[in-house]
Symmetry: C2
Subunit: 183 residues, 2 copies
């Protein structure tokens, strides 16, 4: 950020606003405070019979690697709506949401992952413009060495754990792995 | 947004970038695309024996009303860390996180609420600068008519439901109440 998006001034400084405890980018001209906050990445692992649907990414980061359909939550949509939209965009498929399986923090890049498990409607899918390929995998077929992101590996691994145990758990994780939510 | 925060130009237009499906604020001068996304509100309901800790807000919105300690997630922190920080700021108290109880969407103001249940350490609390008062309430004492936000009422109600049933459930809700996560 080089200019104030409100008044156009170049007079931006990092300072702690009155009553606040964090330094914020603040405009010396119009006094606007420019807050910056983490983004939500929403997604859904589509399930069909004993298989899960993954997408091979056509874009960076992680081009050529497999991923759980996911992307930034948009203004005006719910987290579950965003997850269904991502499946539509990346796999040309519809899902019905079953449960939230993953809360995964990546603080160093200011991202919060929220991923659901859902049912692939009628087992039908295509290939979205951001994907090179979409494919159903059994647990044994999962290409673990070619998963794009740690968040996706976390969700896939825990989904199969849930299925084995007959549970629907919310798993909490982070990158790097801290193991505990109370540090 | 009146000016491009990258180059200072006034030439901002809403347009759909190539390969995108949503209109974004885009700079006609330097081509920067200014994405805008929802914010995470993180919080925790502190539990002590048969009571929960609420804070009476000293600031708008909802000044004078009771709330589950909550606020915007900051860059560089996990959702659970943010929840503990909010309890520290609003109730001068420490909590250990038990479980995520609430995923609550308010699409019209681009907010996603994530609220935990936690244990109030040693039953100790004070009054943070954003609070007029902090107080432990039994279920019968909850001031339902004076709760600041629907998200807080949702979390408090469901916590007592969980406690009655001996469960630790993730409840998903929204304002206005849509009842279902698959519309």
């Amino acid at each position: 950020m080089n200019f104030c998006s409100h008044c156009g001034s170049h007079d931006l400084k990092l300072r702690v606003p009155e009553g606040d405890t964090y330094p914020r980018i603040s405009c010396g001209n119009c006094q606007t405070i420019h807050y910056q906050n983490p983004k939500v990445v929403t997604g859904c692992l589509p399930v069909w019979e004993d298989k899960v649907l993954l997408c091979r990414r056509a874009i960076e980061p992680g081009r050529g690697r497999w991923n759980v359909p996911s992307g930034y939550l948009e203004n005006g949509e719910s987290v579950a709506e965003g997850a269904r939209r991502e499946v539509r965009e990346e796999a040309a498929a519809e899902v019905t949401i079953d449960y939230l399986i993953t809360l995964y923090d990546i603080e160093r890049i200011n991202q919060v992952y929220l991923q659901f498990v859902g049912q692939l409607v009628d087992g039908v899918f295509g290939i979205g413009p951001e994907s090179l390929e979409c494919k159903l995998f059994t647990q044994a077929e999962i290409p673990w060495e070619e998963i794009a992101f740690t968040s996706s590996a976390f969700t896939i691994r825990n989904y199969f754990r849930d299925r084995e145990r007959g549970t629907t758990t919310l798993y909490q994780g982070s990158y790097p792995d801290r193991g505990l939510i109370n540090p």
